[in-house]
């Protein structure tokens, strides 16, 4: 009894179609797939390069337009006025878009990987809505400093995450239950938010609504610095948890057989993922869609195994930067970036749902 027939190794057997549905491409596609790891590294590097280029272009846009070479010279501290514009006015906002977008993208990648579902994103599960609730409560109570609002948003996001996690808990937390509980809690919080705004005085409601639209317009160096420090800490934690995340993708049994404490790792990932979204939301107001779309777009660009963390962060940064450029320069008067991502996100969500329903039918 030969252990293996030679044809088994060279091409998928006839029974391949029965359970994989693919199979035919294995031989022909081999060349295109040579060394997937280095191809992925190249695609990720390319994403980073595109982000840098878009950032340089974005730094040149505005009432005082600058060409890319002028931007580079200004960045290096060249002539006075252009440098002031680029370094003081435009750079914090561009960096904020890249950094916050990256945090949202990474957060989305963590949750989509944990839930094994492209809908499993922090904005769908309700953390952004909960953060908004927290912010409204602070603004309505009259303690509406920037820090107070941010703290309220942070607390709101974390409490929502805790509630969703506990409601979804049944001998461990599993993907689809987390998403469905999250969608339910989101709907609930939306009505709470509307009720709070309706009860509030007009100008208070206006200020809360403005915050709720999600904008980068008010981000300067002093707002960016603390958020950047927090995101850097979270980035280190996510990097440390990347390997456990890759293990959890194999299913709990395999992960635990490999010596992973599955439930503990999952909780740590949930906490870090929520914190990434919460820090951004606290700084800018809720910005939807980036966490939802970036990981899936990254997966398609990089063609990775599972949801790629680094590429998702890069695509997230790129997406938010582009959305912010649109928000500032395409409309006749500037609109909040959250509105732009909301519109694009709505279209994306519809196409995702259509694709999912086709696939599962």
């Amino acid at each position: 009894m030969s252990a293996l027939r030679p044809d088994d190794r060279l091409r998928p057997r006839a029974d391949a179609g029965a359970d994989s549905g693919a199979g035919a491409g294995a031989g022909a596609g081999r060349l295109a797939r040579l060394r997937p790891r280095s191809r992925r590294a190249a695609a990720t590097a390319l994403l980073a390069l595109v982000a840098v280029i878009v950032a340089v272009v974005a730094l040149g846009l505005g009432d005082y337009p600058l060409s890319p070479p002028e931007v580079l010279r200004a960045l290096l501290g060249g002539d006075g006025f252009a440098s002031t514009i680029v370094l003081q006015w435009r750079l914090p906002r561009v960096l904020a878009a890249l950094l916050f977008g990256a945090a949202l993208g990474a957060s989305g990648a963590v949750f989509q990987s944990l839930t094994r579902n492209p809908l499993g994103s922090p904005d769908v599960i309700g953390f952004s809505t909960g953060a908004y609730t927290g912010a409204i409560l602070v603004i309505v109570s009259g303690a509406a400093s920037t820090i107070g609002t941010a703290a309220g948003a942070l607390a709101g996001g974390l409490v929502t995450a805790l509630v969703v996690y506990l409601l979804a808990w049944r001998r461990g937390v599993h993907g689809l239950r987390l998403i469905i509980v999250g969608i339910g809690v989101t709907a609930l919080l939306h009505s709470v938010n509307s009720w709070l705004l309706l009860r509030a005085q007009a100008e208070v409601a206006l200020s809360a609504s403005f915050w709720g639209a999600g904008s980068l317009a008010l981000v300067g160096w002093s707002e960016l610095a603390p958020a950047a420090v927090l995101i850097a800490v979270l980035a280190v934690l996510v990097t440390g948890l990347a390997r456990p995340l890759r293990q959890l993708e194999l299913g709990d049994d395999a992960a635990r057989a490999h010596g992973l404490r599955a439930e503990g790792s999952r909780l740590a990932l949930v906490v870090v993922g929520v914190a990434l979204t919460a820090v951004v939301t606290a700084s800018t107001g809720p910005i939807v869609f980036v966490a939802l779309a970036a990981p899936q777009l990254a997966r398609r660009v990089v063609r990775s195994a599972g949801v790629p963390l680094v590429a998702a962060a890069l695509v997230g940064g790129l997406l938010l930067l582009v959305a912010d450029v649109v928000a500032q320069h395409v409309a006749t008067s500037p609109v909040p970036v959250g509105l732009v991502t909301l519109v694009i996100g709505g279209l994306y969500l519809v196409s995702l749902l259509v694709a999912e329903s086709r696939r599962t039918r």
Binding site: R9, P12, G23, R30, R37, A254, R256, A257, H258
Partner: protein, 264 residues
């Protein structure tokens, strides 16, 4: 290892249960060092539950599960995972992952926070791929493989873990008959190379052919243990499986072969 008389794995009066459902009230079972132990029994008799207890996926409510004489619950998870490997009944492959990447995830228990990919990891993955004849498929996405190939990839992932004990939960399910024997031959080869193999199997003929030790279970209890030729009698099969039968020597191997009697 330790004293050769110490079983690699042992359940001692172990109470095994999920939530409120008790599977085994107090089970005793042993896996000899260097054995190819096969656990058989009717559906829902607690075979897989015993295997889950051996693999740390299920902690006993009372009693203990011992690994080389040590209480398994007190062995650090990664350390245990360097000694006992498991092929679970079902695992998920991340979309788009290649064979080599998936197999390399079996190296997790050998890696630390700061000890990244090493030569030892590379060598272990290469050996695992060679053992399972997957070298040619190393860079192919797992999604494109057949069921038989895919099962080999999961086995390779467990092999990359480089454990001296390998547990397999119904590894032949979903495979056609030729691939079932391919897999069993692979396990036999690993066993000859010194790995202690423990598998839950349904097919008694396969169990009798490949096992050195048989654990027969019924209703959450071990009803018989020993070499297949001693254990597998017509009387036992009728009692445990409720199947009137003859047991004849397998014409190829001489091991016991269960032939059901006509029931109509």
């Amino acid at each position: 290892m330790t004293d050769p008389a110490t079983p690699r794995l042992a359940a001692r009066g172990a109470h095994l249960a999920y939530d409120r459902r008790t599977v085994s009230r107090s089970i005793d079972a042993e896996v000899r060092d260097g054995s190819f132990t096969v656990i058989v029994g009717p559906n829902a008799c607690g075979k897989s539950t015993l295997l889950r207890a051996f693999s740390r996926l299920l902690a006993p409510r009372a009693g203990a599960v011992l690994l080389d004489g040590r209480d398994l619950a007190r062995v650090p998870a990664k350390e245990a995972a360097r000694t006992v490997g498991l092929l679970p009944q079902s695992s998920t492959a991340p979309e788009g992952i290649t064979v080599a990447e998936l197999v390399s995830r079996g190296r997790y228990p050998h890696q630390g926070m700061f000890r990244q990919w090493s030569d030892a990891d590379r060598a272990a993955v290469a050996t695992a791929l060679a053992e399972t004849d997957l070298v040619e498929l190393a860079e192919v996405p797992v999604d494109e493989l057949s069921g038989g190939q895919r099962q080999r990839v999961w086995v390779a992932m467990a092999l990359a873990q480089q454990t001296s004990v390998l547990l397999l939960d119904e590894p032949t399910t979903f495979l056609d008959v030729a691939h079932q024997y391919d897999l069993l031959d692979l396990l036999a080869r690993l066993h000859e190379q010194g790995t202690t193999v423990v598998a839950v199997l349904h097919d008694l003929a396969q169990a009798a052919r490949y096992a050195t030790d048989l654990i027969v279970m019924s209703d959450g209890e071990v009803v018989a243990t020993g070499a297949p030729s001693d254990v597998l009698t017509a009387e036992l099969v009728e009692r445990v499986f409720d199947l009137p039968c003859l047991v004849v020597p397998d014409p190829v191997t001489g091991t016991p072969l269960v032939v059901p009697r006509r029931r109509r």
